[in-house]
Structure formats: C-alpha cells, structure tokens
C-alpha cells in the first residue's frame, strides 16, 4: 500500500513540476489513456483480491490497453467519429464493475473475519 501512495505522490509531483500543458488537440487521447490506466489499475486490484494477480498480465494490460485506447481514439478522429467517447464510456463501465466486485470481495472478507472472531469468542469459555 505504501508503494502505491509513494508512486502516486511521485507522479503527481512530477506532473506539477513538469513545465507546459497538454495541447488542446491531444486532450482526448490523454484522457482516454488515463481512463484505460485507471481501468487496468482497478482490474489489477480486483485480481489481487481474487488471488489471481499476475505481474505480466497487469503490466502488459496497463500499457497495451493504453496504446489501444489511444489508437482507437486516433482512428476515430480519422473517421470523424467521436470514438473516444465510446472508449471512455466502456472503460468507465469497467472501472465501476471492478469497483463493485472489489467492494463485494472486501465486505465478504470482513464478514468472514467477523465470523471467525465470533467463533473464537464463542470457543473461549469452552477452552477453559
């Protein structure tokens, strides 16, 4: 967890220090890339909670998804279709989906823990 926070802090600091802004014409690409990155991160979190996290899957997903999303966006501008809206919509849905699953898994875990503790508490008098 500390690595996540440190990384985020470093990234934000770098972003603030970096001079210049993203040109307005590149703003859709950048937002799509950001969205796909968020999606991958939440996907990785979910995978970790389901105990099937893989480094290679996470990393390749992170970069490939980003590139594909940007490419989609670019193709959309070539075809004069606002693809980036669709990409953002789909990615947003996935983020919510993943978040819902993460929440459910977390609550289940907590419930199990509680049950275990109750069981331990119930066992205690008998132990004596």
């Amino acid at each position: 967890m500390i690595y996540v926070l440190l990384g985020l802090a470093l990234g934000v600091a770098l972003g603030i220090v970096t001079p210049g802004y993203i040109p307005k014409s590149y703003a859709p690409y950048f937002s799509v890339a950001l969205m796909s990155g968020l999606d991958t991160v939440f996907g990785g979190l979910r995978a970790a909670m389901e105990n099937r996290y893989e480094n290679t899957v996470f990393l390749s997903g992170f970069f490939v998804n980003m590139l594909v999303a940007v490419f989609f966006c670019y193709a959309g501008t070539l075809l004069n279709i606002d693809f980036y809206l669709i990409v953002i919509l789909v990615l947003g849905m996935r983020v919510f989906n993943n978040l819902a699953i993460i929440r459910r898994l977390y609550l289940e875990e907590k419930e199990k823990e509680l049950e275990r503790k109750e069981a331990e508490a119930g066992q205690d008098p008998n132990k004596l």
């Binding site: 996540v4 990384g7 985020l8 934000v12 802004y21 703003a27 950001l34 909670m49 992170f62 875990e109």
Partner: protein, 245 residues
C-alpha cells in the same frame, strides 16, 4: 487486504502508480489552464492597468512638483538660465538706448520721399550691428528681438514679433556700452548713413537698460528634437531642416 510479497512486484506497482499520478496531475493542470485562460488574461490585464495607473499618478505628481518649482536648486537655476537664453525673462544691465526717428528734412523736389523714413532694412542693419558688437539682449519699442523674431516692412510700419511698430523707434540693447556705441557710430556705418538722409538717431549709454521678456512662448510645430547621441555630422541636421521648411 491485498498483500503482494515479491519485491519485483512492488517496484512494478510503484512505477505504474507513478505514471498514473503523473497523468492525473497533468490532466488536472491542463484542464484548469484551458478553463481559466481568459480569466487569467483578464487578471493580467487588470494588474497591468493598475501598474500603468500607478506609474501615471507618480509621473503626474512629479510633473506637478516640477511645475510648482519644488525641484532642486540646480535644476531651477538651469531652467531660469534657459528661459533667459530663450528670451522669456526680462533682463537688465549696462547697455545703450538708440532712438531713431523719421527725417524732418523737407523732401527735395524729384527725390523719393521713401528715402527719408525708416525702413525695416535700417532697423535690421542696426540690430545686426548691435549683435556684431556683442549685444546680449535687444528690444525694439518693447518688442524683444529673439532668435525667431522677424523685422519686416508692412506699409508705413514695421512688423516685429507680429506687432506693428511705428517711428520713433527706441532700440534698447544690453551689452558693452562702449563697444556698441562705437560700432554704431563707425565712419560709413549705420548711423553715418542715417545722417545723410536726415534720419534722427541718438545713442545714449546707460548703466541700467531694461529689456522686456518675449510675450509669446515659442513652440515647435514642424521641428523635432534630435537626441544628442543620434546627431552625426550635418546629414541628419540638414535632412530635418529641409523637412521643416
């Protein structure tokens, strides 16, 4: 909660999170900049307006100070000097007072009567002679003769500083009285010439000649000042002079 044990994985997550953070902050920054670009411009402009207004007020106060004479004594002295050179102040000092009047002789038959009265040329010659003798200030009938004064014939009168003057003329000059008197009275000189036509001329030396100030402030309509560091030879000067007629 989530526990990832391998060191390698931690670094990977760190890097990925750094990238995410960078992207998020860049996006936020760009977004904010895009939204507030016009507001920023307005703010910049209002700040600059305030600065310019402050500058203006400062300069106006400074100008007021100069006008009311609250300046250093050297500056004041310099200004007084320049005013005196420009003929904007009345002056007093040793000098001569020359009074000339039209001839009282009877015009001989067949002679041009114009020869018996004083013309602009006569006055010009007198002024020229006085200047040659080192006169520092000259006035004709209370009209100060400055660098821009004209002496010119208009019908029976003479125009000086756009004011009509008629005989008798009283010419006051400040300078060395002895030099001026002698140069006026030179044999074959100005006054000698007057005598021939019976034009009356009296030179009086005085220790206290008063010369009035020029009534009008000179102003430039065509001429522009060339900064001293830009003047090179006569090319720049003659070019400007030609433009100013």
């Amino acid at each position: 909660m989530v526990t990832v044990n391998r060191h390698y994985t931690k670094i990977l997550i760190f890097v990925v999170c750094a990238i995410m953070g960078f992207m998020i902050s860049m996006q936020l920054k760009s977004n904010r900049q895009a939204q507030t670009v016009s507001v920023q411009r307005a703010e910049d402009l209002s700040v600059r307006l305030q600065q310019v207004e402050a500058d203006r007020n400062k300069l106006a106060a400074e100008l007021e100070q100069y006008r009311t004479g609250k300046v250093s004594s050297t500056l004041k002295k310099e200004m007084d000097n320049l005013n005196a050179y420009a003929g904007l102040t009345a002056l007093e000092g040793k000098g001569v007072v020359l009074t000339v009047d039209d001839s009282q002789q009877a015009v001989k038959p067949g002679e041009n009567q114009n020869l018996y009265i004083i013309h602009d040329e006569d006055l010009l010659r007198v002024v020229n002679e006085l200047r040659a003798a080192g006169a520092e200030a000259i006035a004709i009938n209370d009209q100060r003769v400055t660098g821009r004064s004209e002496i010119r014939c208009v019908g029976p009168t003479v125009l000086v500083n756009e004011t009509r003057l008629a005989a008798p003329f009283v010419i006051r000059a400040i300078g060395n009285p002895q030099t001026m008197e002698s140069s006026l009275k030179l044999r074959g000189g100005v006054l000698d010439n007057f005598k021939f036509w019976g034009i009356k001329a009296e030179v009086a030396k005085s220790n206290k000649v008063q010369v009035p100030a020029a009534s009008e402030h000179p102003s430039f309509e065509f001429a522009k000042v060339i900064p001293a560091d830009r003047v090179q030879g006569t090319a720049a000067g003659s070019g400007k002079g030609g433009a100013a007629q």
